[in-house]
């Protein structure tokens, strides 16, 4: 509380006396600029019903909510902002440590001729985020913002440098570790005057990141400073593009890696070719012992320092997206992905009157090709792994194809087929039937039909099926969504686990949503049973945990 008051006093003092700091020009310019204030508000509340069939836990408060408002004020080169968050009490599915209300995010910043300073909280990413990504996914309860200082300097000749220092957010507090980092990037076609018109374009970047955390372990002598670095490049020539990042991390015994003293490394490579009507991307990565947090004893999404996304398609259809999604195994994996998008020309016999869009995607993830070392009483390196060599154990596999075609002014069709495998010895899903062992294979098919009754009234229907011999067996989903542009929508959905080998779990998950949108305001009310996952309805996607009851969402931007 006191801290926030000091912060506000600090900001106003800085604004008042800043003429000495910046010289008259910046201030005079800022004085001419109007003060602009904007932000947003978001509230998700739910009234919970007990539902023993889906093992929904009882909620003694009956009603829970997550809410926040951002306010950002800018005047010329100056910006200040804060976020008030309130969880009284926090929604089911989020970490209960969020409980409470307060202002965990506030900052002040200014730009002065290429120099940009932020004090307070900030989000930041170095390269692809293999070492540092401070970001927020509010619907997931993920916010690892840094509280400290950031300096960015754009030298104006293709060189950009930024430095950060601070501690990461931990619910309404901060984590124990301190981060210090510097990142530099050079765009050679801006830097070298002779390269200005060059069709070959090259960007190089590198960063160094170090974390400090006191040795808190009575049994092990732990490194208190852990250093890491990475290098990256992006090269482009006409329609081709190649980008890569390599990162190395010093030994960092942690809960995630079983407190071993092994170094970590990661490599990501991605190549693309695209022209109008055709695009392809091929990617591969090697991740070995790259879990990175500012508290070595933490788990889940808490105090994560880096970002290691899965090299798989991010599906949107409910059964494909919510039942068996895959996440990178930060302790080690080798993964590959291919993705093609193309358009069949309009006014041809194969493309139809309006053309046809086709998207094909395939991905596979494997364990490391590693050899276990029996050295936990000596060097504690744990294992050795061959670089960029997939191990024998496959973790995940997905092949999918999507076809979209507009038949006439009233009818649009979209179909998706997907075949997947997930190794549950690794992912360890535990649905209504409890945990299961071994590999799960599934086929998923979706038919998405949009009927435009007239320019403003439409009905969209989704028919989805998932067929599997493992875990919870077969599923079917039906969604009917009626929209009356620009303000109203109503949707009903039922998911039916008709093929569940446990007869009592052959359940329906009905859910209805009704909502109103005007400009940047959106209000929706939902009622029914929900499974966990990415949930898209009425034009917006967000992530929700499983539950039963009535929910209300209010969103407003100003």
């Amino acid at each position: 509380m006191l801290k926030l008051r000091y912060f506000i006093v600090f900001v106003s003092t800085l604004l008042t006396y800043s003429s000495n700091l910046f010289g008259q020009n910046v201030l005079q310019e800022a004085a001419k600029d109007p003060l602009e204030v904007h932000g947003n508000f978001n509230l998700t509340g739910q009234y919970y019903l007990t539902d023993s069939a889906i093992a929904a836990p009882p909620v003694t408060e009956k009603f829970l909510y997550n809410g926040y408002a951002n306010v950002i004020a800018t005047k010329g080169a100056f910006t200040a902002g804060l976020r008030y968050e309130s969880y009284e009490n926090v929604l089911l599915g989020f970490d209960p440590r969020f409980q409470g209300s307060g202002i965990p995010y506030r900052y002040f910043g200014f730009d002065n001729k290429g120099l940009s300073i932020t004090v307070g909280n900030f989000y930041e990413q170095f390269g692809t985020g293999m070492l540092l990504r401070a970001y927020e996914e509010r619907d997931l309860g993920l916010d690892n913002a840094i509280d400290g200082i950031r300096i960015k300097y754009d030298l104006g000749n293709g060189i950009r440098v930024k430095g950060i220092a601070g501690r990461q957010r931990f619910f309404f507090d901060k984590g124990p570790g301190i981060l210090r980092g510097i990142d530099g990037e050079i765009y050679l076609n801006e830097f070298l005057s002779s390269w200005k018109e060059n069709k070959f374009k090259l960007t190089l970047g590198a960063n160094f990141l170090s974390k400090y955390q006191e040795d808190n372990n009575p049994d092990l002598v732990l490194p208190e400073n852990v250093g890491s670095y990475s290098g990256r490049f992006t090269a482009r020539y006409k329609n081709f593009s190649l980008t890569s990042e390599y990162s190395y991390k010093g030994n960092d015994p942690s809960f995630d890696n079983g407190y071993i003293y092994k170094e970590g490394q990661g490599l990501f490579v991605s190549a693309s070719y695209s022209k109008k009507g055709f695009g392809i991307n091929l990617s591969a990565k090697h991740i070995d012992n790259m879990s990175f947090r500012t508290d070595r004893d933490e788990s889940l999404t808490n105090l994560l320092t880096n970002f290691l996304p899965a090299l798989t398609k991010q599906h949107t259809y409910n059964l494909a997206a919510t039942l068996y999604p895959y996440a990178t195994q930060p302790t080690g994996e080798v993964a590959f992905q291919g993705d093609v998008t193309f358009r069949l020309k309009k006014k041809t016999w194969y493309g139809g009157k309006y053309g046809t869009r086709i998207m094909i995607n395939g991905s596979a993830a494997f364990g490391l090709d590693s050899t276990r070392l029996n050295d936990l009483d000596s060097a504690r390196k744990g294992y050795t792994a061959n670089f960029f060599s997939p191990g024998e154990e496959e973790y995940f596999q997905d092949f999918n194809i999507t076809i979209e075609r507009k038949l006439n002014k009233k009818l649009k069709l979209k179909g998706m087929y997907m075949n997947m495998m997930v190794n549950n010895d690794i992912t360890q899903y535990s649905g209504l039937n409890g945990p299961f062992k071994g590999k799960l294979y599934a086929d998923i098919a979706v038919l998405d039909v949009l009927v435009k009754l007239n320019p403003k009234n439409s009905i969209r229907t989704e028919l989805q099926g998932l067929w599997s011999k493992q875990d919870m067996g077969d599923w079917a989903t039906l969604i009917i969504e009626y929209t009356y542009s620009p303000h109203w929508f109503v949707a009903v959905m039922d998911q039916y686990n008709y093929g569940n080998p446990v007869e009592n779990n052959q359940l329906h998950y009905p859910y209805a949503t009704f909502g109103y949108i005007k400009g940047a305001n959106r209000v929706s009310i939902g009622y029914g049973r929900q499974k966990a996952g990415l949930f898209c309805v009425g034009g917006v996607c967000r992530v929700v945990p499983s539950s039963n009851g009535m929910s209300i969402t209010v969103t407003s931007s100003f």
Binding site: Y187, T203, Y354, K456, S485, R542
Partner: protein
């Protein structure tokens, strides 16, 4: 006490901004060809601008931009509007944005906002979210989500802006 400060902060800022307008903040992004692009360069020589936040994993977003793509030539011809499509795809999907955009043959200027810096500064909660900018560079309208047919209302507003009229 915390709440008091917040209320005071909100009240003061609200009072000083009555009748104020809003412009596009300056944020460093990249275009899909890898060139750096500052959002203060979002300009259209006095013609209207549509800024649309989207992502490759968001079906309604792609529906909206695909529907606008079908009529985009007519829109440009009649009003001179230009569309900036801001992808909020993170490092997981950012490499797939250009192949997708080229694959479906959009003519928009597409920018990558991989850590949601621009999204945050613009106050966007969910995608899709669109902003209309008038000839003076002022944000005069915003809309969240997409429903089939929403582009009709949007285009009415764009036409008004291109004639120099104000929106109600």
């Amino acid at each position: 006490m915390k709440k008091l400060i917040l209320i005071a902060f909100a009240a003061v800022t609200a009072l000083t901004t009555v009748g104020q307008t809003r412009t596009i903040p300056s944020i460093e992004l990249q275009d899909i060809d890898g060139n750096s692009f500052n959002t203060s360069e979002i300009l259209n020589e006095g013609k209207p601008i549509l800024i649309n936040f989207w992502a490759t994993w968001c079906s309604p977003c792609k529906r909206e931009l695909n529907n606008i793509a079908e009529v985009y030539d007519d829109w440009v011809e009649e009003t001179g509007v230009v569309v900036y499509a801001i992808s909020i795809d993170d490092a997981r999907n950012a490499p797939k944005v250009k192949p997708y955009v080229d694959g479906v043959a959009w003519d928009y200027t597409v920018l990558l906002d991989v850590n949601s810096d621009f999204r945050r500064q613009m106050g966007v909660v969910n995608v899709p979210h669109s902003f209309l900018v008038d000839k003076n560079g002022k944000i005069v309208h915003q809309h969240t989500s997409y429903q089939e047919g929403d582009e009709i209302e949007l285009y009415e507003k764009i036409k008004k802006l291109s004639k120099g009229e104000t929106l109600d």
